[in-house]
Symmetry: C2
């Protein structure tokens, strides 16, 4: 693969990752639903759970990072070593945030009878649908960052050995 | 850093990662406690939660992988490209499993009043102590794997540019 093709592939992957993280963040932040339980209004929103807040922050950091790197890639490329390390850190941050959010969403959907935690999705289906959408968008981002890291490593190794 | 020092550093990091994942797995599997709630015996064990089962499986895979790579490193080194990719995948797998387990453990400890999920650590403190121990050991492993990947990438880059 020529250098220009590699740069183009990297830009496409970063644009897709940017789209996925922004979509995940927006869909999670706008998730909101309420239900009447025993004459009390029960409101579900992402900020009620620290894990969903962590998810939004991580997606926000990754979105900002993707945008900055896209701008840097278009101008000059001397920071590629730092970018390679940061790509790896962002891949792990995104993996961490999506895994934690999926774990909590699973309890929200299925509950845990052993611990006495009841599912809440029956009461607030709109909230759960939004969260599911955010998790689907959010799960694409770490895969894209894994591909970005593998592509960068491939470039370095190919440059070295071929 | 000479090649022999790099190999030694890699062996030390992999041995530490192996120790951390085995410790995390064993401590999680042996976590067990029971309590009497309203004349009913309530038993807490790791297999009651799918996320803790995933944690044990991920730590088991990482332990087996660390051991295999340690044996391979001692004999020959021609598979280093594959090992570099697998190191990255294992780092992400460990990050994912510890993050999900921490999210559930946090609900177990603090509960979530908005969702009506009560904390359970007051009833089964021994179980929670064991899980905390497993999570501490388990959180060291992805950091060690991140260092292994960075060290391997550093070796490749240094070889290329210095």
């Amino acid at each position: 693969m020529t250098k220009s093709k590699r740069v183009l592939l990297s830009i496409i992957l970063r644009l897709l990752a940017f789209g996925a993280t922004v979509a995940a963040m927006v869909v999670m932040v706008t998730s909101h639903d309420s239900a009447q339980v025993l004459n009390l209004t029960f409101t579900a929103k992402y900020s009620n759970d620290p894990v969903f807040k962590y998810f939004v922050i991580a997606e926000g950091i990754a979105s900002a990072y993707s945008l900055i790197v896209l701008l840097i890639t278009c101008s000059q490329n001397s920071l590629w070593r730092l970018i390679l390390i940061l790509d790896l850190v962002i891949a792990m941050l995104l993996t961490s945030s999506i895994s934690a959010a999926v774990a909590i969403a699973h309890v929200g959907k299925k509950g845990n009878s052993h611990a006495g935690w009841l599912p809440i999705c029956g009461q607030v289906p709109k909230f759960c649908d939004h969260v599911s959408g955010a998790l689907i968008a959010g799960s694409i981002a770490p895969i894209l960052y894994l591909l970005i890291v593998l592509s960068s490593m491939h470039s370095v190794i190919t440059h070295l050995f071929l």
